[in-house]
Amino acid sequence: MNVFDEVKKALRKVNPGLDDNKMVSGALLKDDLDIDSLDLVEVAMTLEDVFSLTLQEDEVDNIKTVGDIVSLIEARLKVRSA
């Protein structure tokens, strides 16, 4: 499963109008994608289900960009496979 693709899917579930080209690694969730703190909670819930993991609140609170979400998930998956 490609983490970046799943993150984009989760973002689009929250904001169905999101343009694929805008969801780049450096895109700011709030300013570039109109994803607010409530939306981010839902994105995190979706990704927890997809990847069968539990994210901590402070981990989610620190997320600013699309890339931050991808890195967080990848780091957690790496720990699990190690």
Binding site: V14, N15, P16, G17, D34, L38, V41, E42, M45, T54
Partner: protein, 411 residues
């Protein structure tokens, strides 16, 4: 000096149309919006009928993200409010955004959102409850969305008085404008109670019709009436001070000339049988107008045995013998009971009656009831030159609210 208050526009999403004009045409034609419920499976339910809004797609009115994060009741409210603002030719900009307020009410709010998230809570635990639950379920979410979507920054709140909500929002906004607290108000009512928990709750309270013929079930003032039909929808009006409406060249549709509100101090669901407090609300609404000019009463007329009899007594108590000469009709016979939106669509109907010279009927009135002996405009619309119309709304808990709407005399 107190301001006069006029109606400058309206909008509606109802079981008989996705705007006020279509709804009106169907009301005049005596069309029933009641049918078997399609929104969910009613296999286990004693009551299987409702008045659903058909073919409503929120994307036709606002963006997909808003649609996803709002309960159906707030979607109805927002769509109707946007229609009302457009029909009033009201442009919100940096110069007037603090002069315009919003008061949109709902009887049961985001009932379906709560029910669905309770299922999630039970099945999957608290960490899977939607972060949108609270902003979707709170009854003022509709009022808030109207502000967010339009940029309106004046006073903004909600109001709840069960099935009288849709009339009380108009009455309160009328007072605010009259006393000069705000120049323009977007007022509305909305509910989406055709949900499993809504249907079950009202059915268990014994309030709903068990009639197996959907289009015959809502039969206000008929001897065989046996309860109301749950409806849904949203309606909104633009109320405005006469000065403000004139200064911007608005098309003035009618004038609000009175509001009366009382309570029964009696029971959580049943009305006070002798109609005393309801009659007082009517009298208060008529305090500043000549009651001989009242040419139409839009009844609360729910089709429950108790309401229709006590409402008839209230009208007779307020008007005496003249009550027999005033046409009274219940459009709930066609729309079902739109709950928090009922009073609002009924006020719009009063404006239409005044301007179009037609009185919509009470359909399904086939068996006269000796306790209901007024002129209910049975089964067919009729012409009527109405100068002042009253709209009655009564709610669970004993809320009695009445507004008086007058033809605008151009002065």
């Amino acid at each position: 000096m107190l301001n006069r208050v006029v109606v400058a526009g309206y909008g509606a999403i109802t079981p008989l149309g996705l705007n006020a004009d279509d709804t009106w045409r169907n009301l005049v034609d005596g069309v029933s919006g009641v049918g078997y419920i399609s929104l969910f499976d009613t296999t286990d339910f004693k009551v299987k009928i409702g008045a659903e809004v058909k073919d409503f797609d929120p994307i036709d009115y606002f963006d997909a993200m808003t649609a996803r994060h709002t309960d159906r009741f707030a979607q109805f409210a927002l769509a109707a409010s946007l229609q009302a603002i457009e029909s009033a030719g009201l442009k919100i900009d940096g110069n007037n955004r603090y002069d315009v307020g919003i008061l949109v009410g709902s009887g049961v709010g985001g009932l379906d959102s709560v029910a669905k998230q309770l299922e999630t809570l039970s099945a999957r635990g608290p960490s899977r409850v939607s972060p949108y639950l609270v902003p979707m379920m709170i009854a003022d979410s509709a009022s808030a969305q109207v502000s967010i979507k339009t940029g309106i920054r004046g006073p903004n709140f909600s109001l709840i008085s069960a099935c009288a909500t849709g009339t009380d929002v108009i009455g309160m906004a009328y007072k605010m404008i009259k006393w000069g607290e705000v120049k323009v108000m977007v007022v509305g009512g909305a509910d989406a109670a055709v949900t499993p928990i809504g249907l079950a709750g009202f059915a268990q309270a014994g309030a709903l019709s068990r009639n197996s013929e959907p289009q015959k079930a809502s039969r206000p003032f008929d001897r065989e009436r046996d309860g109301f039909v749950v409806g849904e929808g949203g309606a909104a009006l633009i109320l405005e001070s006469l000065d403000c409406a004139r200064s911007r060249g608005a098309n003035i549709l009618a004038e609000v000339v009175g509001y009366g509100a009382t309570s029964d101090a009696f029971h959580v669901t049943a009305p006070l049988e002798n109609g005393e407090a309801a009659a007082r609300a009517i009298e208060l609404a008529l305090a500043e107008v000549d009651r001989d000019e009242v040419g139409y009463i839009n009844a609360h007329g729910t089709s429950t045995p108790l309401n229709d009899a006590s409402e008839t007594r209230a009208i007779k108590k307020a008007f005496g013998d003249k009550a027999y000469k005033i046409p009274v009709s219940s459009i709930k016979s066609m729309l079902g009971h739109m709950m928090g939106a009922a009073g609002t669509i009924e006020a719009i109907t009063c404006c239409q009656v005044i301007n179009k010279g037609i009185i919509p009927p009470t359909i399904n009135l086939e068996h006269p009831d000796p306790e209901c002996d007024l002129d209910y405009v049975p089964n067919a619309a009729r012409a009527g030159d109405v100068r002042i119309a009253l709209s009655n709304s009564f709610g669970f808990g004993g809320h009695n609210s009445v507004i008086a709407i007058s033809r605008y005399n151009g002065q």
